[in-house]
């Protein structure tokens, strides 16, 4: 916090954060847990964002039951928000029995929720999204990704293609659903970035972040993973052969399937309540 007590809000650039430093050494703040405790960028809904990150962290097993969180002041400094915002988020998490606060010399906030409980909470959050919101993000991703593959096939260099083919080859059902989902999203983003367009890439990054709850929860069957992995290998070949239009058709079909799958997953989650 600065002298006026107003928290510094770091500027969000893509997936990284740029934070002003006032220390003469230009030293970044102490960071403990990677993205979960990386600075919160948006001005709106900062409390929600902190709650979401901690719940996602528990659901992924990065934050474990019994683990102690940094102090309110430490968290505020790391996240680039006011202590009051952190206090609000911790209060919400306490209310939902995700953590407990112990007083005294060995006091602090400790994680109490199991990964399964955190997943249940993510499901609850997911049901608050409307199908229209999911479809709309999906529509944007279709537009961005189909345009991007055409450009990728035109502008990609040979070394990019070698890398792309290797990354596609690494995508396999052996990864398990969660890791597969992450790897697929990363590969997708890598392909969009081959367009050499920072704006298209940023649009895909933003759309993926908005979908992060759905993507974190969705479970893929083994056959589905194999099929998608095989598809991406074909796509990597199409792009490497500079067949932009064929790559575009592939992407259009793939995204239509993915969006339908996400909508159906949302529909079932809402129905199950």
């Amino acid at each position: 916090m600065n002298a006026t007590g107003v928290a510094r809000v770091p500027e969000r650039r893509g997936l990284a954060m740029v934070e002003a430093v006032d220390d003469a050494a230009g030293r970044p703040g102490r960071r403990l847990g990677g993205a979960i405790f990386a600075p919160v960028g948006e001005v709106e809904g900062r409390t929600d964002e902190i709650v979401k990150r901690i719940i996602q962290g528990i659901s992924l097993g990065v934050l474990k039951p019994g683990e102690q969180l940094p102090t309110e002041n430490e968290l505020a400094a790391q996240l680039g928000v006011a202590t009051l915002t952190v206090r609000g988020a911790l209060a919400q998490l306490r209310e939902r029995n995700i953590l407990e606060t112990r007083r005294g010399r060995v006091g602090g906030s400790f994680i109490t929720a199991e990964p399964a409980a955190a997943r249940a909470m993510l499901r609850e959050r997911l049901t608050r999204l409307s199908p229209l919101e999911i479809r709309d993000i999906g529509d944007l991703r279709v537009a961005v990704s189909t345009a991007a593959v055409v450009l990728a096939a035109r502008r990609g260099a040979i070394s990019d293609f070698d890398h792309l083919r290797a990354a596609a080859a690494g995508l396999g059902s052996g990864l398990g659903s969660e890791a597969f989902s992450l790897a697929e999203q990363r590969l997708h983003l890598e392909i969009v970035a081959l367009s050499q367009s920072p704006r298209l890439t940023r649009a895909e990054v933003d759309a993926q972040s908005e979908m992060s709850d759905v993507l974190a929860l969705r479970r893929l069957a083994e056959e589905e993973m194999s099929r998608v992995a095989k598809g991406f290998r074909e796509l990597a070949d199409l792009i490497s052969e500079r067949r932009g239009l064929a790559a575009r058709s592939w992407m259009e079909e793939h995204m239509a399937e993915e969006n339908a799958g996400l909508l159906e997953f949302h529909r079932l989650t809402v129905r199950e309540g």
Binding site: G14, A25, G26, V62
Partner: protein, 218 residues
């Protein structure tokens, strides 16, 4: 065609930046025994370097290995001085940036020489269109990380267009793979691949990759 003097002046600056980056890496290798001193020295170096070439560079810093970990110390010059770049180091996150697998890190690691990466969309780091120059931090034959700078390619394009203004023909500067870094030719912008042209000169960048200056038919 000879390369116009103003363009030559611009390309010579790339060599000067490379010398600076190499010297920084060398200084860092002498400081590895005293890791506490590194952030302060690096921040000062980044500020000086960014202020020396404000119309070419976007960021500067280093990635240093310390036992099994690798830390990124990277800064950009903002309105109020240095801004630190924080990247996502959580492997379970979508934005996870394992920069030790990126070309700008692996290049110097494999070759033990300075390396030039890009142009590329740096969506995991600065979120800008950049080229990154990195030099290995070596102690004898042991690799301990890299020091480097990001070229801001929008700035670079503006400099190039100003420099090539008096040239007789149309020019394009590309990386070793033919990706355009800057060009004043019709329909050819930064990021495209050049398919035809006459080589004017090879630009020594002080790294394992030379950039090339081409003359294009109208």
């Amino acid at each position: 065609m000879e390369s116009p003097p103003s363009v030559a002046l611009l390309t010579e600056q790339i060599g000067a930046v490379s010398i600076e980056v190499g010297q920084c890496a060398q200084r860092l290798s002498g400081l590895l025994a005293d890791p506490e001193s590194i952030p302060e020295l690096l921040a000062a170096w980044s500020r000086e370097t960014l202020e020396r070439w404000p119309d070419l560079l976007l960021g500067a810093g280093a990635a240093i290995e310390d036992s099994s970990r690798c830390r990124l110390h990277w800064w950009q010059l903002g309105g109020n001085g240095l801004d630190v770049l924080l990247v996502d180091v959580d492997p379970g996150s979508m934005g996870y940036y394992d920069f030790t697998r990126s070309k700008w890190y692996k290049g110097p690691y494999q070759s033990h020489t300075s390396h030039l990466t890009g142009p590329y969309v740096d969506y995991l780091g600065t979120d800008r269109y950049v080229a990154t120059m990195t030099a290995p931090i070596l102690v004898g034959d042991d690799f301990h990380g890299v020091a480097g700078v990001d070229f801001d390619l929008s700035k670079f394009e503006r400099r190039f267009l100003a420099a090539s203004r008096g040239a007789a023909g149309h020019l394009a500067l590309t990386n070793g793979e033919g990706r355009v870094i800057a060009s004043d030719a019709r329909g050819l912008t930064c990021g495209e691949l050049l398919d035809d042209g006459e080589l004017v000169s090879v630009v020594p960048t002080g790294t394992d990759e030379a950039w090339m200056l081409w003359e294009l038919a109208d």
